[in-house]
Structure formats: structure tokens, C-alpha cells
Symmetry: C2
Subunit: 317 residues, 2 copies
């Protein structure tokens, strides 16, 4: 089994950026891009236009952007593997990283496996239906797109992030409708109050989205009132899931401490985990900002920290 100075697990903006920096620093990183559990490239692979990654005044698609990140990582000598990591062993030194086909001993590891936005299993919202054609799991990413302007937009959820997404969408929408399965929000009081007094927001209590329909884009949502069991078909220009994210930490098997909501815990302002030599970057450790640019920033931090760590144990050559 080969021994590597640095293995990077996960291939979104954080992973590729870590690779660019590490490869330029001659650490010859190996990058597990993932394969079985989804597309390599992270959440951006399922978005359309990215307007807010700085440096691209003309919008770029998520997949195009990830292609450029990868090209840059390869250019400086990153070794990319299109496979998932099955397990890691952080108790032995060097660490063990076991992929589906390829395994390594690693002196340092950067974990950048991201998070997955939860979606609900609603007819009309699936990948081969209207997903990314008016159905989104990120209002901040997609809300400003022209297709949502002055439309009736529906948000599913009842927590703080649903409140935030709904308030964010009021900037563009004709009206925002929050669909919530209970009779009150679990969001913080201040956020809930702001939503409830907002003239552009309507709340559909005790309700779920039964189905979504439209020809090329979302045109209608059907709302099911759980109390009356009445179904109502309504005009809609978009549907946003705001039912949370799941950080992709399963393969770690509890070897690193998590925050109360399940994200990897890092020393604030750094990417250091509790285990020296193991760093975490991007959405797997971020439940606050979650943007491509912030993920890339922490990817860079992780590479610089890995480099310093390797130097400190005399393994920088």
C-alpha cells in the first residue's frame, strides 16, 4: 500500500481548492472524488447558473465551474481517483484511507465530503422531472435567477433556515408561501415573527406539498391540507426545499467529534479537527455560510494547515 503525504476526501470547491494549494506546494496529494454515492464535484453539480462565485461576471454553470477547479488541481499534479472512500482509520499512524478500489497510508487527511441538501420525495420534483427546473434546495444559490422573478414561490420547511430562505425570496418573488406540516414553526421566535408579519409571505399551516407539475418549468403545486384533507392546485413559479442538510460523515464511523447538529467540529477560525493531521473543509464542517466561495476558502486553509503540520513533523520533503 502506498504512503502519501496528503489524502483529500471529497471533490467540491473545498476539496479541489485544497488540492490546488497542496499540489502547488509539492505535497503530491491524492484526491478521492467520490463516485458511488453521487456525482464528483459536490452540490454544484446539481445547480444551474452560479452567479455569486467571484471571478465569473458572466454566470457559469456549476458543472463547468467544477471542471475548471479540477483541471487546475490536475495541472499542478493532483492524483484524482473517481471512487468513494469506504472507511478511514485515524487511530493508526500513518492514517489508513480505504477506497472502493484503492487504499493509501496517509500522513495527513483533509475531509471535504460536503453535505447533502435534504429533498422530499414529492411527485414532480425528481431529477428526471422538474428538479432544477423551478425546484431547488437552496434559495440563496438560486433565488435571484430570472425564472423566479415576480412569481409565486413555495418554501417547504419550518425551521430557521426555512424562515431565512423565505425572507430572502421576498426580494424577488411576487409572493412567498411557506408550506409547513404543523400548526407552528420550530424556528426561533424572532425569525418566525419576522416571517409572520411580512406582507409578502403567506403561511400554509398543517399542509404538505402533494405534487408539482409543469411543462418545462414548475407551473403548479398541489397543496394537501392535513387537517381537512383538501387538495388545492395553485399557480407556482418555484418550489424550495428548506428541510435541512445532512453532512456526509458516515464513513468516519464516529472517529471525530461532531457538533450537536452532526457536522465535523473544527477549532473556530481554522480547519483543525481534534486529531492532529486531520483537517476538515467546506460544508462538512459549515452549517452557517455554505457557499462555494466559503468552501473554497476553507479548502485553501486546510491545505496550508496540512502543509504546516507535515513540516512540523518533518515530512514536508
Amino acid at each position: 500500500m502506498k504512503r502519501k503525504k496528503l489524502v483529500i476526501i471529497g471533490s467540491g470547491p473545498a476539496g479541489y481548492t485544497a488540492a490546488i494549494y497542496a499540489a502547488r506546494a509539492c505535497l503530491e496529494p491524492v484526491l478521492f472524488e467520490g463516485f458511488y454515492s453521487g456525482l464528483p464535484g459536490g452540490q454544484l453539480m446539481s445547480t444551474t447558473d452560479v452567479e455569486n462565485y467571484p471571478g465569473f461576471p458572466e454566470a457559469v454553470t456549476g458543472p463547468e465551474m467544477m471542471k475548471m477547479f479540477k483541471k487546475q488541481a490536475l495541472k499542478f499534479g493532483t492524483h484524482c481517483l473517481l471512487e468513494d472512500v469506504k472507511l478511514v482509520d485515524l487511530k493508526q499512524r500513518p492514517f489508513l484511507v480505504e477506497g472502493m478500489k484503492t487504499s493509501f497510508h496517509a500522513d495527513s487527511i483533509i475531509i471535504s465530503t460536503g453535505a447533502t441538501a435534504k429533498r422530499l420525495d414529492i411527485p414532480g420534483t425528481h431529477d428526471d422531472e422538474l428538479w432544477q427546473k423551478g425546484v431547488s434546495a437552496c434559495a440563496v444559490c438560486d433565488g435571484a435567477l430570472p425564472i423566479f422573478r415576480d412569481k409565486d414561490l413555495y418554501v417547504v420547511g419550518g425551521g430557521d433556515s426555512a424562515m431565512e430562505e423565505a425572507l430572502f425570496l421576498t426580494k424577488y418573488a411576487k409572493k412567498v408561501h411557506i408550506v409547513h406540516r404543523r400548526g407552528e414553526f420550530r424556528a426561533s421566535k424572532i425569525m418566525a415573527e419576522r416571517v409572520l408579519k411580512h406582507h409578502k409571505i403567506e403561511v400554509l399551516w398543517d399542509s404538505t406539498v402533494d405534487s408539482v407539475s409543469g411543462k418545462d418549468y414548475v407551473e403548479h403545486v398541489t397543496i394537501l391540507n392535513l387537517k381537512t384533507e383538501a387538495k388545492t392546485k395553485r399557480h407556482a413559479g418555484g418550489l424550495f426545499f428548506a428541510v435541512g442538510h445532512v453532512p456526509n460523515v458516515q464513513f468516519l464511523n464516529g472517529q471525530l467529534p461532531l457538533t450537536p447538529n452532526g457536522y465535523l467540529m473544527v477549532k473556530p477560525g481554522t480547519t483543525e479537527t481534534e486529531i492532529p493531521g486531520v483537517f476538515a473543509a467546506g460544508d462538512v464542517q459549515d452549517f452557517v455560510y455554505r457557499q462555494a466561495i466559503t468552501a473554497a476558502g476553507t479548502g485553501c486553509m486546510a491545505a496550508l494547515e496540512a502543509e504546516r503540520y507535515l513540516a512540523s513533523i518533518g515530512l514536508d520533503e
Copy 2:
């Protein structure tokens, strides 16, 4: 005097990124790009090729990149002003931001005025001479460029960052020579030891660089030994200043707490300063990572935090 929801002070990757996010969130930001004290666009305006900003597999020049950042900020409605900020008053609400020509009341402020790499006043190193033609103030930014490969590179300085830059350059250089005016380093012991035992590093104690010369690029440095007063002309492919940075905080007149080394203090992992509504992003608050991508990441964070702050005080519309 006009009242603005958000005023951003400083125009490098942090400032423009904050503007892109804030403008997309309809905060109609004003961005003071600076003018009198230097080029708008920050330290990247004085670099050549940027190879490590993710998304640009073909290197882009610093000024080109900042042009794209600015274009993107303008596209979403940022109001850019080519002037310096003279003073701010953070004691009144809304805050006061006084530019050279234009002044505003501001409900929130993002400070992204950056830091300036110190340069020494050595003949041959000035802007109209060999600056950026083999003379640099950032080994991590420039060290991997082809012009420095397998050359004799000179680093001026004696602190931790000089050690780091010298060690970094060993990856590319034929030999690295550290020029230090004293007989010992003030760097940490571990860093100094790593430098001293490195086979590719030579230290020129009690010495300064007297002058730099070359036709199109650095070809020679002349070293002055301060004890013997002997001058020696040596072949050289590059000269790197590693004598520290100065964060640009003068205009704040001590209204915000600083770290012991003079940078703006933020709550770790955020861009919040001690004053609610005032945020700091980029190199003005970062003496660790200092990369374009990390600065842009914190610019995004600052905009999201400013947006939440404005919403929390009911000023998001």
C-alpha cells in the same frame, strides 16, 4: 447626507466579494475602492500571474482578476467609488463614513482594507525597476512561477514568515539565501532550526541587500556585510521581501480592538468585530492565510452576516 444599509471599505477580493453577495441580496451596497493611498483592487494589483485562485486553470493576472470581480459586483448593483475613506465614526448610529469627496450614514460597515506587504527601499527593487520582475513580497503567491525555478533566490527577513517563505522556496529554488541584518533570527526556535539544518538554505548573517540589478529580470544582488562592510555581487534569480505586512487600519483611529500584531480582531470563525454591525474581512483581519481565495471567502461571510444583522434590527427592506 445619504443613508445606506451597507458601506464596504476596501476593494480587494474581500471587498468585491462582499459587494457581490450584498448586492445580490438587494442591500444596494456602496463600495469605497480607494484611490489616494494606492491602486483599487488590493495587493493583487501588484502581482503578475495568479495560479492559485480556484476556477482559473489558465493563470490570470491579478489586475485582470480584480476587473472581473468588480464587473460582477457592478452587475448586481454595487455603487463603486474611486476614493479613499478619510475617517469613520462608529460611536454614532447610523455610523458615519467620510470619504475624500463623498460621505454616508451607514447602518452596517464591512472593513476590507487589506494589508500592505512591507518593502525595503533598495535600489533596483522599485516599481519602475525590477519590482514583480523577480522582486516580490510574497513567496507563496509567486514562488512557483517558472522564472524562479532552479535559481538562486534571496529572502530578506528573520521572522517566522521569512523562515516559512524560505522553506517554501526550497521546493523550486536551486538554493535559497536568507539575508538577515542580525546574527540570529527572531523566528520561533522550531522554524529557525528547520531553516538552519536545511541543505538548500544558506544564511547570510549580519547582512543587508545593497542593490539589485538585471536587464529584464533580477540577475544579481549585491550583499553588504554590516560587520566587515564588504560588498559582494552574487548571481540571483529572485529577491523576496519577508519583512512583514501592515494592516490598513489607520483610518479607524483606534475605534476597534486590534490583535497584538495590529490586525482587526474578529470573533474566530466569523467576521464580527466588537461593534455590532461592523464586520471585517480579508487581510485586514487575517495574518495567517492571506490568500485571494480566503479573503474572498471572508468577504462572503461578512456580507451574509451584515444581511442577518440588518434583518435583526429590521432594516432588511
